[in-house]
């Protein structure tokens, strides 16, 4: 039987944990397009096209598409978000300087595509000083239920983001 394909887009600034999140949740080997960074972005490799993973849910097959975080790849946000079931916007809770860029992504996508979304706060397990979900919600002007804090390296924790998104549909 053919499974119904569903697309979930994972977006956010560089270093928010998008590739990690997809690797944690994907049940198949993740297709990534990591290349050595040509700019100083705080890490040696970065996604230049997309990350792709899958979650098999019986009759449904969720395709996870991770967008590149760098601004010069912003044309990908629109392409990947079209027809998506939902959008997960990842932000690192200890990097508030990246929030304006995250908001830019969110507002661009959600003003053009009819896509439900949540904001996913990452690095809560390692951050010494962190913005709490309530404060992140205040920054993005969202109700608290649209923001969730997770550990992107932990399957159960990452799954909670997917559950929260389904609750927003």
């Amino acid at each position: 039987m053919t499974k119904v394909p569903l697309k979930v887009v994972v977006s956010g600034p560089v270093g928010a944990g998008k590739s990690t999140f997809i690797r944690t949740l994907s049940q198949t080997e993740v297709v990534d397009t990591d290349e050595r960074s040509s700019e100083n972005i705080g890490k040696t490799h970065t996604t230049v096209a997309l990350d792709f993973g899958q979650i098999d849910l019986g009759d449904y097959l969720i395709h996870l598409f991770g967008t590149p975080g760098q601004t010069r790849f912003d044309f990908m946000w629109d392409i990947l978000s079209e027809g998506a079931l939902g959008l997960l916007l990842l932000v690192a809770c200890d990097r508030p300087g990246d929030f304006p860029h995250a908001r830019r992504i969110l507002e661009f996508v959600t003003s053009r595509q009819s896509v439900p979304f949540i904001v996913v706060s990452t690095r809560n397990d390692v951050a010494e000083k962190a913005w709490q979900p309530a404060d992140i919600a205040a920054y993005f002007d969202l109700p608290l239920e649209q923001v969730i804090a997770i550990n992107a390296e932990n399957v159960d924790s990452a799954k909670r983001a997917l559950i929260r998104l389904m609750q927003q549909l």
Binding site: P96, H101, K129, D135, A138, Q167, L169
Partner: protein
């Protein structure tokens, strides 16, 4: 609960807006190392200290202006104790800050080019919200108010008003930060009821499968 960051990433207006009516202590630290402590309660500044207690409204306003242009950092700690603070001042933020302005060049602003709205992000006007605008921003809003009532992007406004795209983006960002305009939420505004029901039902099925 704490929020922190650089005033080059968040405007002081945004910080104030995020704090809302929450009571607590806001520390503004300028690049030269001077530290201004403020006690906030119910959207009012009730105490300001900068080496000494500041008790004049004019002096408080003048000190705050130093932080409007994006120099330094901020740290807000929410106070859990509900008891009212002994106030030496009773100042309304909105009246103290200068009107929102639209910079004529990137060099005059703390907003980074990367953080400007995408040219195709669509915004709508919040008609019921009254804000203080400087004359340049006010004139811009007069020119494109009708388009923004329907919803418009920087690209559309640039084409229709024959203005440079980047200038329109700066203006929109300034209006966005004081919440005079708001990004369109296509999901909320375009989804019809049957489609929403269908989506919700799919969400419930998927939820069941994920939790299984």
């Amino acid at each position: 609960m704490a929020i922190f960051g650089k005033l080059s990433d968040f405007s002081l207006r945004e910080v104030i807006s995020m704090i809302g009516r929450r009571p607590g202590a806001l520390l503004l630290e300028s690049d030269d190392g001077s530290r201004m402590h403020m006690q906030l309660s119910d959207a009012q500044i009730v105490r300001i200290t900068l080496e000494r207690s500041i008790e004049s409204v004019d002096e408080a306003a003048s000190l705050l202006k130093r932080f409007v242009q994006g120099q330094g950092s901020f740290h807000f700690d929410q106070r859990e104790d509900d008891r009212p603070l002994a106030a030496t001042l009773q100042l309304d933020w909105q009246r103290l800050l200068p009107p929102a302005d639209a910079p004529s060049s990137p060099a005059q602003t703390r907003i980074k080019a990367d953080d400007l709205p995408h040219p195709q992000t669509c915004f709508v006007l919040i008609k019921g919200r009254n804000v203080r605008l400087d004359p340049i921003l006010d004139a811009f809003l007069q020119r494109c108010g009708a388009q923004l009532e329907r919803g418009a992007s920087a690209q559309q406004l640039s084409d229709e008003l024959a203005m440079e795209l980047e200038a329109v983006q700066w203006h929109l960002q300034s209006l966005r930060e004081i919440k005079k305009i708001w990004p369109v939420r296509a999901y909320v505004e375009q989804s019809d009821v049957p489609k929403k029901k269908e989506r919700r039902s799919l969400g419930q099925r998927l939820l069941g499968l994920i939790l299984k």
